[in-house]
């Protein structure tokens, strides 16, 4: 079971998730402090450890639009948040998968802050409202990366395969 800790609207840009003025900070160990920095109340709750891992951010369509900054994914990953949205912008979606941030595409999702959600592979059950919503699969092109635990281990695996095949020939 996971609790909704933040509800947002459509077109939440990476400037909202991770404002540009903190972009000189790149390390995944340091980016989490600036998550939703312009929502000072929520940012303070994240920083003070009041938001348990696995908590859910619910959003509308086009979540993560805008900049390709990977900090927008690493900052949320740092808090082990789960993002449930109607859909995601392409680059953010790919960055999230590459870093192992959990995203759920749920085109009809209805949930309020405080609601308890059960997230299953094919549906989300809102335990508070009693309603169920269908989950769409993530792009199948990315499944191998998810299975490998992120793009770094996947690339490492591919690199070693490449080197091994070069040695054979």
């Amino acid at each position: 079971m996971a609790r909704v800790v933040l509800k947002l609207g459509d077109d939440i840009s990476t400037d909202i998730i991770y404002p540009g003025r903190f972009m000189a900070t790149v390390l995944p160990t340091e980016t989490p402090q600036y998550a939703f920095a312009d929502y000072p109340e929520f940012n303070a709750r994240l920083k003070s450890g009041q938001v348990p891992p696995g908590s859910v951010v619910v959003a509308g369509k086009n979540f993560g639009c805008g900049s390709s900054r990977e900090q927008a994914a690493s900052t949320l990953k740092g808090h082990e948040l789960v993002v449930v949205a109607r859909n995601f912008a392409r680059i953010f979606l790919q960055n999230a998968i590459n870093l192992g941030l959990k995203l759920v595409v749920c085109p009809e999702i209805e949930a309020e802050e405080g609601d308890e959600l059960e997230i299953l592979p094919d549906k989300i059950i809102n335990k508070t409202s009693g309603k169920e919503f269908k989950v769409e699969p993530l792009p199948r092109a990315r499944q191998a990366i998810i299975d490998a635990g992120g793009l770094i281990p996947y690339t490492r695996q591919r690199l070693l395969e490449k080197v091994a095949s070069r040695k054979k020939t």
Binding site: S13, N62, S68, L151, I152
Partner: protein, 430 residues
Amino acid sequence: MGLTMVEKILARATGQKQVRAGQVVEPRVSLAMSHENAALVINQFLEVYKDTGLKPKVWDPDKIAIILDHRVPAESAKTATNQKKIREFVAAQKIKKFHDIRGDEGGICHQILPESGYVLPGTVVVGTDSHTTSHGALGAFSFGIGATEMASVWALGQVLNVEVPGTIQVVAKGKFPRHVLPKDFILHLIGLISAEGANFKVLEYHGPAIENMSTSGRLTVCNMSVEAGATSGLVPPDRETLRYLREEARVKGKIDIFGPDPDAEYERVVEIDVSRLEPMVACPHTVDNVKPVGKVGKVKVDQIVIGSCTNGRLDDLAVAAKILKGKKIAKGVRMLVFPASFRIYQQALKLGYIADLVKAGAVVMNPGCGCCLGVHQGALGDGEVALSTTNRNFKGRMGNPKAEVYLCSPAVAAASALTGYITDPRKGGK
């Protein structure tokens, strides 16, 4: 059925006869671009090699470009240290397409790439910047990726697991009226199809208004294609592309020109008659909140920004200089100009545009991205309003969530600088 531009390009980059939208491919990359976020790419790249026993070595140093442009000259010790780390990596890995903070060869990545002849039609270009869509103006399939994805490209020379995107064909008919520019066309299109209207798709541009458009205008259109969610904008290369590459980018080698098949399969066709367009403005806080300038109402402006990767090219500066020459910008208005590169800066100096702008009261800055994304120079005060030729007006974009950003063409920006209010350039000052 025939193939779209992106299907043809990805077929070549994967050595296949044809690929189709929806298929998963791993294209070879012809150019991999990064800016200051190369600092993060370097970290991730080294992480890939950790515990492998292999020496970290980029797959092809000639195919990597790094341009320092986001916060130049460095605004903080942290940035300066990141930039230093990048220089050291560039030297160690023998990366030649490196553009440091210099008045002879520096500038914004999305201008440096085309003007240096780094982008060729029919190739695959990736960049750790969402506006990498720009280079579709030269007929490349060019798209933004994250830093970890780039680390993977640096190691392997391929982008892994790419789904071939479907394509929306945009047909631009007619002739642009006076004071209506490519920026107005792309703002209108984004307003029409919405900020997610082309998510995961390619926008392929056709029609006489595109054929008659300069490469500079096409770069503006493809630059902002990402604001409709597009993976890439794409203009089928033509005589103008060849002219630009030979005369301006000084490309000597072979240039491969091809377009989509006449019977290519498009997901959707959008037709726009540009002769009926007006100057457009994207109002806060989304890029698809677009209105004709006459419908915006009376909006007082504190800061005007002309330039950036979107509208900092020579013809953009010419438009502004022509409107402002011999006049004064309104009291209480600050105007900042960011030429897209130092080559453009020098051309504008020679043609007198810089003098015209400075005498009118503008502050001409060095080429850079910092103001647009609120990381360096030109931040807004609480409650202030900016009118800008850049590409994003998201809340907090120019460094302050309590400020507002409107987006427009250089003509609207310059006309508004004279009055201090958002102004229709067709009506002129007052």
